[in-house]
Amino acid sequence: MEKEFIFPDLGEGITEGELIKWLVSTGDYVNEDQEIAEIETDKALVSIPSAFSGKIKKLCYEENQTVKVGTALLIYETDETSQTEDTKSDSLKETENTQSNREKDPIINKKKPQTEQSIQNTTHLLPLATPATRKLARELGVDLHSIKGSGKDGRIIDDDIQKAANKTEISSEELTEGLGSKTKPSPSEKASPYEAIPLKGIRRKIAESMQASHQEMVMVTHMDEARVDKLLEIRKEKAELAKSRGIKLTLLPFILKACSIALQDHPYLNASLQEESIFLKKYYHFGFAVDTDAGLMVPVIRDVNKKSIFKLAKELTELSARARERKIDLEELQNHTFSITNIGSLGGIFFTPIIHHPDSAILGIGRTQQKPIVDQNKKIVPAYMLPLALTFDHRIADGATAARFVNQVISYLEDPDLLLLEEGEN
């Protein structure tokens, strides 16, 4: 007997994923719960455990292909093979029968989409979508049989079509045939002068989120510098202590802390604008940008205002490691109120970060370097300067707010003792 292993619904509206790696191959005997494949979804890299034991007869996808939820990922074989052949030919006969019956009725016949063969599951014979949605699918060149709707029983709604249309790479030729060609050159051609990388996974998420911020918000970036000689000293002093606790101390946890305190005085920078209301958030969950092989990820540290510098440092290290390994949970990427992005380790001074949708501000940190400055005594002295670039949504906050907020953050970074004094919720 054959048994299909269906790529399961992973929840969170995930409808497909990219097959990164097979952990098994044809002919292998697999135990229940044994991991069989690594699949990258919009959100994370997941290992898929087998739902049952058996010998693998066929892998239905190749690595790097997109796997749709609800389709067979691989086929197992159980022992009674001889019997299989019989039942199979019988059921084949049956389909042939209905096929030829259909031919009697060319209308039913012709509306049968080419893809139907791949969808033997009878429940999906007629796509579950209203006529207007079906029309939208035609207009956007989406094959209804190739997508799983987000509604009950897989009902396809307009949104699903829109999403699928955004994802469709080069599959719409057929439908648009004769409608004035939208011909895209085929990327599979040999010696192609370019390479087409389908927009998917994390890259697509980044694209969507950046686009949303860019389209919705009115972003302005305010820039300033903090003199962090003192802070660097403290860090140096405490580095050993931190190390003994297994913590790598950087400037970042101090900046996080400083922001969490200053934000309490500037609630409009810890806010979002949704449906004609500004939501001022009374919790301080900071996203921080991590550069991973797959692209930018923004894990979130919760309740920054309530955590110690050491604790923050520890979480920063852990979360970024997990983000890089793609072992992060979806929840750990959600529910941020403010974000910090640090490109200092790579260089650069000021830049204009894009707000992490739907927050109202993001703080960009450049590289700390020694610079000649004029001190109180009107002397030119070397000082460690930390560049700060705060992008804020001008719909929600004004330039003065931003400047005041940055000033406050600077005051904490320049005089870290204040951090101690102001620590805690006010």
Partner: protein, 479 residues
């Protein structure tokens, strides 16, 4: 446009002015195209309007009224003398047909659609030759739509003589009600015409080669229909093959072969051959555009109604499928939209309607079909007899049956037999197009007292909870 020697041109040329042709023409004009309709018939409307749907429905209506009069006595309505002047009935019918045809012509004028009474033939994929009473001319086109429809199929051993051996076309125009009528073919056209003359007192015999009629209908409904045929003095012989005929004075004597191979004679005044319809493609010049028909003579089209020649479309009966006017309408709109660059394609359900008495209508899958496709189904059935409105109309024969997929409760099909189900079927069609579940219809209020309540009740019956009928709890629902 003037028909002359000059070669004229049009953006879209349409061959045939029937349901396919005239609807495509209007839609194309609405979308801004310059359209020319070439019609072998002097008036638009095609088979449907000139000699099909409309004339048959007119006669069915008249006959139904006639037959209902004696039944009205129970309501206290008595008439002394019941009489029908069939030639008057025919005149009334002709008047209706004329009105409707002129209505289409008027629309053509308003939409500035050129209408040419002529026969068209393709010379190439860009040019049509036009034969009219005024001679020959040529018409250049960018796109063409073939909507030449169908004609009654002739049986070689029973060639139409238009006097005794008739097609539906002739029988719909006869001036005198025959005493007896034999119909070869138990398809919907045969059954509808049997109903007309059955009501008018003719002795009607239907001969069907196959072992059963109405194959798309579930058994329960078919049985109700067969009972009604008997009541209307219409005999039905299935598995019966007509072999030959002989003229015997004014009568036609038919030799039949029954299922057990025995032979039998049947005498009647008229013989109607209604064994299906063949597509009209002869003389169209298909050879000049290298278009082939399938084995049964239909033109092959893709979901956009395009033939293999991308600028030439085919719609309606000539393209096969369910040979019904509303299927032609739907294809006409798809072709028109696609010609104008819209992403139109066929993906709809065609409801079938048969205007017998009682009427039959169905859409989607029957229970048998659904099971054959591997669906696990639940069904519900509701009889019109339990409905207030049906009782007050004295039209209590029939049922509505709903078929849904068990797990999702999605409605797969609805079948109806009963009064005015031709109108009730649209709710079912909408339900299926919308992918409705049983509850969607159950929670839709059906006005009281109307026949439409039977739709709601049959849905509730599938859910195990009809109001006007006792239904034991279904185990399938609780499991």
């Amino acid at each position: 446009m003037v028909v002359g020697d000059l070669s004229e041109s049009t953006e879209v040329a349409i061959l045939g002015g029937g349901p396919g042709g005239f609807v495509a023409a209007i839609r194309l004009a609405q979308l801004g195209k310059d359209v020319t309709v070439i019609s072998k018939d002097p008036l638009p409307g095609g088979t449907c309007l000139q000699r099909g749907c409309i004339p048959s429905k007119a006669l069915i209506e008249a006959a139904k009224h006639f037959a209902s009069i004696p039944q009205l006595s129970e309501m206290g309505i008595h008439t002394k003398e019941l009489k029908i002047d069939f030639s008057e009935t025919q005149k009334w019918k002709e008047k209706k047909v004329k009105q409707l045809s002129e209505g289409i012509l008027q629309l053509f004028k308003q939409y500035k659609i050129n209408f040419i009474h002529a026969e068209g033939k393709f010379l190439s994929t860009k040019e049509i030759e036009i034969h009219s009473t005024q001679g020959l001319s040529k018409l250049n086109f960018e796109h063409a739509v073939i909507a030449t429809g169908s004609q009654a199929k002739e049986l070689p051993s029973f060639p139409f003589d238009k006097k005794k051996i008739l097609s539906s076309r002739e029988i719909l125009s006869i001036e005198k009600i025959p005493q007896s009528l034999t119909i070869i073919g138990g398809g919907y056209i045969g059954l509808e015409i049997a109903g007309v003359f059955g009501h008018l007192g003719t002795e009607v015999h239907i001969i069907e080669v196959l072992p059963d009629i109405l194959p798309s209908l579930d058994k329960e409904l078919r049985q109700i229909f067969l009972r009604q045929l008997k009541k209307q003095n219409i005999s039905l012989q299935v598995s019966c093959k007509p072999l030959s005929y002989q003229m015997k004075q004014e009568k036609i004597l038919l030799r039949l072969q029954l299922n057990d191979q025995s032979e039998q004679d049947l005498e009647s005044e008229l013989l109607l051959v209604a064994v299906g319809r063949t597509p009209v493609t002869q003389g169209l010049g298909l050879e000049n555009i290298a278009l082939k028909t399938d084995a049964r003579g239909f033109l092959k089209i893709n979901p956009h109604c395009q033939t293999e020649k991308k600028n030439i479309y085919a719609i309606g009966d000539v393209a096969g499928g369910m040979m019904l006017a509303h299927k032609a309408f739907a294809e006409a709109k798809i072709a028109a939209a696609h010609i104008c660059g819209q992403a139109a394609a066929w993906d709809q359900q065609v409801p079938a309607v048969i205007f017998t008495d009682p009427e039959i209508a169905y859409v989607g899958l029957s229970e048998t079909e659904a099971k054959a496709k591997g669906f696990e189904v639940i069904t519900g059935m509701f009889p019109f007899a339990a409905l207030g409105r049906a009782q007050t109309m004295d039209k209590t024969e029939g049922v509505i049956k709903s078929i849904a997929e068990k797990n999702t409760q999605r409605i797969l099909g609805i079948q109806m037999i009963g009064p005015q189900v031709s109108d009730l079927i649209s709710e079912a069609t909408l339900a299926i197009e919308m992918g409705a579940r049983l509850e969607d219809l159950e929670l839709t209020i059906h006005p009281h007292p109307t026949l439409s309540e039977a739709v709601g009740e049959s849905i509730e019956s599938a859910l195990g909870i009809p109001i006007h009928r006792y239904q034991r709890k279904k185990t399938s629902l609780t499991s």
